[in-house]
């Protein structure tokens, strides 16, 4: 069995102040293998977004360790950290907010190419067009401003930007929650396609169990800062062991009387 790509051990995070002293993460541990998708589910306040931010080092934990791509992730600093960040990218919930309001599609995708010297300047346009093609967008979009394209297109551009880094892991923090239902399916299909092509790992954070079930190999259920259940996706959903998992399963609205067959969109 291959070594895990990401190993999170006993990570804790506490927020002080405001008189609340909240424990956001309480000794959380999990592992992610290369090419695997781990779905992280839970209600709001369960700590899943905090965990995503700690894993991507947007926040520093109070305790615990993280190993990523064979190195002590938390020990990295400065230039070395910035260099290795290339391997772990993130797609955010709000497609519009994730881009500099002044950015164009081209400048957004070219940023990682420039920052990590992944291509000479002369080749940026061609590389950007190729990346757009991989997320099924036409190269004509390169000249458009970020606010000029649709939400679904923006999320694809966000994926293209992440792919430009040639990452091993992409953290998706409620990445489809703000999209229309029919677009969600397309983005999920794209994620699976890219994973098959590149062997990417995904940490897929969501409060919607149905969306997670569609793409995850394994699911970890969080509640109040702890992982309360973990296992293969189909098993967790079919036979949930914890109360939270049961509540999450029950909360997904079901389409009864479905006579229109599910078609591959």
């Amino acid at each position: 069995m291959t070594a895990p790509l990401l190993e999170v051990r006993e990570v804790s995070k506490r927020y002080a102040g405001g008189g609340r002293g909240v424990v956001a993460l309480d000794a959380v541990s999990f592992a992610l293998a290369p090419g695997e998708t781990l779905g992280l589910v839970g209600p709001s306040g369960s700590g899943k977004s905090t965990l995503a931010r700690v894993v991507t080092r947007l926040l520093d934990p109070d305790g615990g360790g993280i190993r990523f791509a064979g190195a002590d992730w938390l020990a990295l600093r400065g230039r070395e950290l910035r260099r290795r960040r290339r391997l772990m990218q993130m797609v955010f919930q709000d497609p519009l907010g994730a881009f500099n309001p002044r950015a164009s599609v081209f400048s957004a995708i070219a940023d990682p190419l420039r920052i990590h010297a992944l291509a000479p300047r002369a080749r940026w346009r061609a590389e950007a067009a190729a990346l757009l093609a991989r997320v099924h967008l036409p190269p004509s979009l390169l000249e458009r401003g970020i606010h000029e394209i649709s939400g679904g297109q923006r999320q694809r551009v966000a994926l293209a930007r992440a792919l430009a880094c040639q990452p091993s892991l992409i953290v998706l923090d409620e990445a489809v929650s703000a999209l229309d239902m029919s677009i969600r399916g397309q983005i999920l299909d794209l994620l699976v396609e890219l994973q098959a092509e590149e062997g990417l790992s995904y940490l897929f954070v969501s409060h919607d169990l149905a969306v997670v079930k569609a793409v995850a190999h394994r699911i970890a259920v969080m509640e109040a800062g702890r992982i309360v259940e973990e296992g293969p996706a189909a098993a967790v959903i079919a036979t949930p062991q914890s109360a939270m998992a049961r509540a999450l399963v029950a909360a997904v609205p079901r389409l009864e009387h479905r006579t229109v067959p599910m078609r591959k969109p």
Partner: protein, 276 residues
């Protein structure tokens, strides 16, 4: 450009821009329209306005041409107003951005400096500075900026604090962007628009402060300004009120023009945010 077209759709902005354009034109054309020193004697003293076609607005107590003074005075007012606002916004933006970005002790220290400057009323600060240093236009500009930079500083800091938390800044960090580049490319350009909108108000205030300094005789004594004209007219206020009123009206027109322009600018900037 898109922005210009949007600005033109705001009637206040257009009106303000028109007033300011006219003033700027007059200010620039002053040496052409009224060659020679406006402080030179042009005719007999206290000629009434519209009495002599060569002196459309009459003369003051010493026989100086009022219209020439008015047009030349526009140069001083506009120069001081705009220059003081630029200096204030520049200093304020840098200090505010530094404070917002650095956080911690640096933020605290800088904010206490801002507090110190903000406690003293701007006009008194300008007055004190000008009394200590010999008055000249650049000194007046600096004096006014000393009182006006705190507003942009606080605004810039507030903007930076809010932008720091946005997803696109987090995104830039995750991409591995250098912090300096994040500050200059991601944060600063997006923090500036509200500060720029504030600058219109600062220009208006600066014009008035300059006039007040000149009125008190603390301005540059070698040039004519509207403030000094109002001061000159004070002695004959009952017999020749127009000597003070006319430059006063010019001040009013300038300040209104600046405010309207600022409104148009704010409209323009807020509309862009709503779209995005």
């Amino acid at each position: 450009m898109n922005a210009a077209r949007r600005f033109l759709r705001s009637p206040e902005g257009v009106a303000g821009a028109a007033v300011l354009a006219l003033l700027a034109l007059l200010a620039l054309a002053a040496p052409l329209l009224f060659p020679g020193d406006p402080l030179a004697i042009a005719g007999p003293p206290l000629v009434a306005p519209f009495a002599d076609p060569a002196l459309p607005l009459g003369t003051d107590r010493l026989g100086r041409d009022v219209l020439a003074g008015l047009v030349h005075g526009a140069r001083a007012s506009l120069f001081v107003g705009i220059a003081a606002a630029l200096v204030a916004v520049a200093i304020g933006s840098v200090v505010g951005t530094l404070a917002g970005f650095a956080g911690g002790l640096v933020d605290e220290a800088l904010m206490r400096v801002v507090d110190a400057f903000q406690i003293v009323p701007g006009f008194l600060l300008a007055l004190a500075f000008v009394s200590v240093v010999q008055a000249s236009l650049p000194v007046v500009v600096l004096a006014i900026a000393l009182g006006a930079w705190t507003g942009p500083a606080r605004l810039a800091r507030a903007e930076v604090l809010s932008i720091r938390e946005r997803d696109y800044v987090a995104s830039a960090r995750i991409l591995g962007m250098h912090p300096l580049e994040i500050a200059l490319r991601e944060i600063l350009p997006n923090a500036l628009p509200p500060v720029l909108a504030l600058s219109a108000v600062i220009v208006a205030g600066a014009v008035l402060t300059e006039a007040a300094l000149s009125f008190l005789g603390m301005g540059d004594p070698n040039i004519v300004t509207w403030g000094s004209m109002i001061a000159e007219g004070r002695a004959v206020l009952r017999s020749a009120p127009h000597l003070s009123i006319v430059p006063g009206l010019a001040l009013v027109a300038t300040v209104i023009g600046v405010y309207l322009f600022g409104e148009g600018l704010a409209e323009l900037l807020s509309r862009r945010e709503r779209r995005a």
